[in-house]
Structure formats: structure tokens, C-alpha cells
């Protein structure tokens, strides 16, 4: 009994409630005519689409820089990479690889500046990160109009300049990962092997990094900065490194997202993209200064599962699509829960 209670406490009540909710959705689904195979497949595809973006939370949480509400900044680097790759004339699978290559310098540069800024505002990182994200999206809105892109599939037809609001990735890196080693079971269940493998690779790299000397130092900075300073770790340097990593991961994450989704969304598209990623990792059991790869996997699966299942099941049961409202309440409620936990106010 005691061990069960301890397990429940360590697992966290919100996670259990959300897990049970998702489970009940899956149980109800066949009775109301929703196909399990298709829904499960959708859930896994959406898991793959979003998992790298959620993974982008991990380094910053580890170094105690807080939840990365500034995710859109990294997304901007990814958008620059994706559009540059298309502009330079790459197609097919190569364009995906080149998008990653083109996004990397921007990710590193943005991350470095963002990290330097966050070092100056210790204690107020999260609200400033939020507004750095918003400002960067708004700034890039102007840039998408002004930058000299010329590729005919990307610019407005009549003016010949200024990027479109959505650009199709078809013919470029659409399903570059999804279709790699993809297999089907039955009629409706499709498993996007390539995308899941790609996530596994990136997640493994992050995991391995966190177990190197620098990675351990990062954890030390996050959990006990005084101790870290005493052991001769340069806190500012480690924090900057973590922010650079997070920003780069966000850039990679959005490219993975686009190759599955099929469209590059510019302008105000990425505006609120940080909140789903933040709440996903929190649903997975992370807190403001503690997160693991496991939190990413569990959280993304639960969050995307609910997002996929609620519209179809709810629609079938009560003929009303309340999924948007449920999403808002669950995701923001989760963030609030994490922000109000007492134990985290350590610095």
C-alpha cells in the first residue's frame, strides 16, 4: 500500500488523471464508431511531429534557465533553414538534410544571443523568454516580406516577391522521414518509422550529452547553482550552451514538423507554438527545473493522444467539438500547476 502510494506520488496525480482520461477515450472509441487503428496511427504521427519540439525544452530546464517559452525564436531559425533550402533549389530528401544544415548557423547564432540575454535577467527568464519569442515572430513577419526570396513556389504570384503565408513542402521534403521504412499493419495503421527513428537518434544524442562531463555540469547548474559555482563551473557559459542547444533543437523540431505536416507556416503561424510544447513536457512529469527524455516521450504521447482523440470521440458522443476548449484548459492548467509548485522556487 505504502509503495503504491509512493509510486502514485512520484508519478504525479495530473499525469495519472490525464493518462486515465486518454485510456478511457481509447476504450470508448470503438463503441462510438471511431477506428482505433487510424486514431492510434494519427497519435503516433503527431507524436513524431512534435517530439523534437518538446525535446527542445530539456537542455534549458536542465541548466535551470526555466521553461523555454522562447521556442518561437528557434522555430524562426528552422523556418529560415527550410526556406533557404528550397530557395537554393534542393529537392526531395536532400532538401530536408540541407534545411537542417541551413538552419544550424541561425540556430546557433540566435541561441547564443538569446542565451547572453537570459544570463542578464536571471530570475525573470520565463516572462522575458515569452516576449523574446513573440518579438522574434513579429520581427520575422517583416523579414518574410523584405528578404529577397525569388523561388516561384514560395513567393506571391502577382508581386513576385514576399513569401506566402503557407508554403507547401510537396516536391521538397514532404514526408522525407515519414516514408523512410514506413510499414502498415492492417488497413489503417501506418507507422512512420523514419520519423520515430530520427527522434530516437536526437533523443539519444541529448541523453548522451547529458551524461558527459559538460552535461553533468549542466544538471549541477540547474539543481544547485551555489554548489556548481563552488566546483569551478562557469554558470553563465553552461547556461548559454544550454540555450544554444534548445534553440537549435527547436529549429530541427520545426523542420521535422513541416516534413510531416506538409506546409511551412510563416508569419504569425508559429506565434503560440511554445505553449503546447511546454505543457507536453510538464504533462510528462517534468517540473520547472527537472526534465528527462522519458518526460518528453510520455508527455508528448499523452498530450498528442488527447489532441487526436478528443475531437473524434467527443464529436461522436455529444455531437459537439469541444476539443479546442479542452486543449486550452488542460495545457494551460498543466503549466499553472507546474508554476505554482513550491519546491521549485530555489533560487
Amino acid at each position: 500500500m505504502v509503495s503504491i502510494r509512493r509510486f502514485l506520488n512520484s508519478f504525479g496525480w495530473p499525469r495519472i488523471i490525464i493518462g486515465l482520461f486518454l485510456l478511457s477515450l481509447f476504450i470508448i472509441a470503438p463503441f462510438v464508431g471511431v477506428r482505433i487503428g487510424a486514431s492510434l496511427s494519427d497519435t503516433i504521427i503527431r507524436f513524431g511531429m512534435n517530439s523534437v519540439l518538446v525535446l527542445a525544452m530539456v537542455p534549458m530546464i536542465h541548466s535551470g534557465t526555466g521553461l523555454n517559452f522562447g521556442l518561437p525564436l528557434g522555430i524562426m531559425a528552422g523556418l529560415l533553414g527550410g526556406t533557404l533550402s528550397i530557395e537554393l533549389g534542393f529537392t526531395g530528401g536532400l532538401s530536408f538534410f540541407m534545411a537542417l544544415v541551413c538552419a544550424t548557423p541561425f540556430g546557433l547564432l540566435f541561441g547564443w544571443g538569446y542565451g547572453k540575454l537570459l544570463n542578464k535577467v536571471k530570475g525573470g527568464e520565463m516572462i522575458i523568454a515569452t516576449y523574446v519569442g513573440f518579438s522574434s515572430v513579429a520581427f520575422m513577419c517583416m523579414m518574410w516580406l523584405l528578404l529577397p526570396y525569388r523561388h516561384p513556389t514560395m513567393v506571391w504570384g502577382y508581386a513576385g516577391k514576399g513569401l506566402r503565408t503557407t508554403i507547401s513542402t510537396e516536391g521538397f521534403y514532404l514526408h522525407a522521414l515519414n516514408n523512410f521504412l514506413q510499414f502498415r499493419i492492417g488497413e489503417r495503421f501506418v507507422f512512420p518509422t523514419g520519423m520515430i527513428l530520427f527522434f530516437a537518434l536526437i533523443a539519444f544524442l541529448v541523453w548522451a550529452f547529458l551524461h558527459t562531463k559538460t552535461g553533468t555540469a549542466m544538471t549541477a547548474v540547474g539543481s544547485n547553482p551555489v554548489f556548481a559555482r563552488a566546483s569551478g563551473i562557469s554558470i553563465d557559459r553552461i547556461r548559454t550552451l544550454s540555450v544554444v542547444m534548445s534553440t537549435w533543437l527547436a529549429a530541427v523540431g520545426i523542420i521535422v514538423y513541416q516534413q510531416s505536416f506538409g506546409f511551412i507556416q510563416l508569419y504569425m503561424g508559429p506565434f503560440y507554438m511554445a505553449l503546447p510544447a511546454v505543457s507536453a513536457i510538464l504533462i510528462g512529469g517534468a517540473s520547472v527545473n527537472k526534465a528527462s527524455i522519458m518526460n518528453v516521450i510520455v508527455g508528448t504521447f499523452l498530450f498528442q493522444g488527447i489532441l487526436t482523440m478528443t475531437p473524434s470521440v467527443m464529436n461522436a458522443v455529444i455531437h459537439t467539438d469541444m476539443s479546442e476548449v479542452i486543449r486550452i484548459v488542460v495545457s494551460n492548467g498543466m503549466i499553472l500547476y507546474a508554476l505554482t509548485r513550491k519546491s521549485e522556487v530555489s533560487r
Partner: protein, 377 residues
């Protein structure tokens, strides 16, 4: 000896830094006026309208700042309460000033409840009130949608078919407030040099300013300032810190609800699912443009801020069109500036907090050094 003491140059820099944001906006505004080609009369009229429309909302932010809780991003809660009041009044077909007053009366208990909840949660998240209140805004927005989009019709009776979505429940995206439109503004409007001035609205705002001035001097206001300065000291002095913080948020939320009603009677239409989300950002940006910071804001900041911020807002699309040939660029520019100024103000506040700490330390060191020299002599 003097290398450690504050130089005149440093003092000038300090003053400049404190007023950096308003000065920057004055410059942007001036450039914008030149390139937009608007007449002074037009600009004057627009700014008067916007001062009347927005000031009440922005003043609602002052009290939490006094209590040291930073910028109240949770003012959207009050805005939602105000909107619910307006929806009911529109449904009951009550027009003009009585309608507005009734909407305010309906919004008050809702605002108070939401504000109390918000205050409770913020007390659990001391040290990161701003990001928490920001997320509370989103969270309650979900609840608001649940009530307005699904609850109104089947659970909460709404009679007017013009309000309800064609599917039979939920409120439409836009609610026409034609019965209340400009009822406060037109109550006592006078024209000076061709500029129409909504005297009654301005009088209400002036009344609120008097209330704020009085409130600052009241016992509760003093308590709030003490809590804002140092929670532990205030607690030692016998002030109920948690209670005081909750009260400050409740007052702010109720005022924001009233402010929203005044704002919407001027606009004339209610965007049921959007109006409240934007208003928080615009109000906070305007206050910061006026030279306020996270821990220091006055009524002067409010009016300077509304004028400068909205000047930029009015001129930038036209200036963008005349400069580069794209009005859209100007629109993106003003969105960028709104977010940018909040970012800048938050960053400056955090940096200044550190800077003040180190400067105080340096001055103390200098004093001790001087004292020792004096003793040696």
C-alpha cells in the same frame, strides 16, 4: 579618489536610461508623422479618442505594480467579466448608460471572484507572478470559451437570436453593441477647433485618477507599498501580506472589467473570442511606453503612454506604405514594436535591478574608503 564616485556623466546616463523608452517612441512617432502625411487635426482627434478609450483599462494596472506584483497580465480576466456583462445586457435589450451601468454591476462579482482566484494562485507562485498571471489569462480564456461558446444557450438562457450562433447555442463571433455605442462618449461631447472631445468619459477617467491618488494615501495603499518594497519587512510590521496582494489583484481585475466596458462602448462591436486577448498586451505595452517599469508606474505614465503608443499605432501603416509601398509592413512593424517594447522594458527592469544593487555596493565601499582616509589624516 573620484574614479569610484558617481560622475556627472553617469548621472546623465542614468536619467537617459530611465526615460529611454519614451524618448525612443517620441523619435519613432516624429518620423512616422512626417512620412505618414496625416494632418495634425486628424492625429489630435485620434489620440483624444484613444485616450478616452484606453486609459481606464491601463490605470487598472497601477495597483498590482504598487503591491510589487509586476505587470498584471491577468487583467484579461476582468476584460472577460466585462464582456460577459455586456453580452447579458445586449440580450436584455437595455440601451445606453443604464445598460453600461448594469453591465458593470454584472461584471463586478465575476471580476471579484476571478481576481480572488488569480491572487490566490499568484501567492503560490511568488517571484514569477508575471508569467503565472499570463498563463492564468490563457487558462481562464478556456473556461470563458466553455461558458460562452457552449454554455450560453442550453445552460444560461439567451433569448436574442441575433446573439446566438445559427447552430442554436453559443454566442456569435461578433456582438453588435449598437444600443450602447458611444453612449458615454456622446453624453457630453464638445467640439474645440474641430476636434470632438468626449468630456464625460474623460471625467470618469479623472474620477478614477482621483481614486488612485486617494488610494495611494489610504491605509490599504500604504500597506500595499510596504508589501511591494519588502514582503518580509511588511509581514514583520503586522501587515497581512497574502491578503493585501489578493486585494490588489481583485481591485485591478474589477477596474479592468469596467475599463473593458468603456473601451467596447467606444468600439461599438464586441469580438467575443478575441477582444480580451489583445487588450492585455496593448494596455501593458502602452503603460511601458509611457516610461513605467515593472515596479514603478504613475498616472503620468498612463497618459504619456497612451498618447505615444497610439501615435505610433496610427501612423505606422501609412508611413510603411509611403516609405516602402507596403501598408502591411507598417502593421507588422507596430506589432513588433508592441512586443519589442514589453521585452525591452522587462529586460531593462531586470538589468537595472542588478545594476542598482551593485551601484549601492560600490557607493558603500567608497564611503568606507573615504571614512578610512579621513581617519588616517
Amino acid at each position: 579618489m573620484s574614479e569610484l564616485r558617481e560622475t556627472r556623466w553617469e548621472k546623465t546616463l542614468n536619467v537617459l536610461e530611465k526615460n529611454a523608452v519614451p524618448i525612443l517612441f517620441l523619435i519613432i512617432g516624429a518620423i512616422g508623422i512626417i512620412f505618414s502625411g496625416y494632418s495634425m487635426n486628424y492625429l489630435g482627434q485620434e489620440i483624444i479618442v484613444r485616450i478616452a478609450r484606453n486609459s481606464f483599462l491601463i490605470i487598472s494596472l497601477l495597483i498590482p505594480i504598487m503591491a510589487g506584483m509586476g505587470l498584471n497580465f491577468g487583467m484579461t480576466l476582468g476584460a472577460m467579466a466585462g464582456q460577459i456583462g455586456l453580452i447579458f445586457v445586449t440580450d436584455w435589450a437595455i440601451a445606453g448608460i443604464p445598460g453600461m451601468v448594469l453591465a458593470m454591476i454584472i461584471s463586478t462579482p465575476i471580476s471579484a471572484l476571478l481576481g480572488w482566484m488569480c491572487g490566490k494562485i499568484l501567492n503560490m507562485a511568488k517571484g514569477r507572478e508575471m508569467v503565472t498571471s499570463y498563463i492564468i489569462g490563457f487558462f481562464i480564456n478556456g473556461v470563458y470559451q466553455l461558458i460562452v461558446l457552449y454554455g450560453m444557450g442550453p445552460v444560461i438562457p439567451i433569448k436574442d437570436p441575433a446573439l446566438v450562433l445559427p447552430r442554436g447555442y453559443g454566442i456569435r463571433n461578433t456582438v453588435n453593441l449598437i444600443r450602447m455605442r458611444r453612449s458615454l462618449d456622446n453624453l457630453l461631447a464638445i467640439r474645440i477647433f474641430g476636434i470632438s472631445i468626449p468630456v464625460m468619459t474623460l471625467a470618469v477617467i479623472a474620477l478614477l485618477c482621483l481614486f488612485i491618488v486617494w488610494f495611494k494615501k489610504s491605509k490599504l495603499g500604504q500597506d500595499m507599498r510596504a508589501v511591494g518594497q519588502d514582503m518580509e519587512v511588511a509581514r514583520a510590521a503586522g501587515i497581512r501580506v497574502e491578503h493585501t496582494r489578493i486585494v490588489s489583484i481583485v481591485i485591478s481585475t474589477i477596474l479592468a472589467g469596467y475599463g473593458m466596458i468603456i473601451y467596447l462602448q467606444n468600439m461599438g462591436t464586441l469580438n467575443t473570442y478575441n477582444s480580451h486577448m489583445q487588450i492585455g498586451m496593448f494596455s501593458i505595452a502602452a503603460l511601458l511606453v509611457g516610461g513605467a517599469s515593472v515596479n514603478r508606474a504613475s498616472i503620468g505614465n498612463v497618459f504619456l503612454g497612451v498618447a505615444l503608443f497610439h501615435l505610433m499605432f496610427i501612423v505606422s501603416p501609412m508611413a510603411g506604405k509611403n516609405l516602402i509601398g507596403q501598408a502591411q509592413l507598417g502593421e507588422f512593424f507596430r506589432v513588433f514594436v508592441s512586443y519589442g517594447v514589453i521585452t525591452l522594458a522587462l529586460v531593462l527592469y531586470e538589468i537595472r535591478k542588478r545594476h542598482t544593487r551593485s551601484r549601492a555596493g560600490r557607493l558603500l565601499a567608497q564611503e568606507q574608503l573615504d571614512a578610512r582616509r579621513l581617519a588616517d589624516d
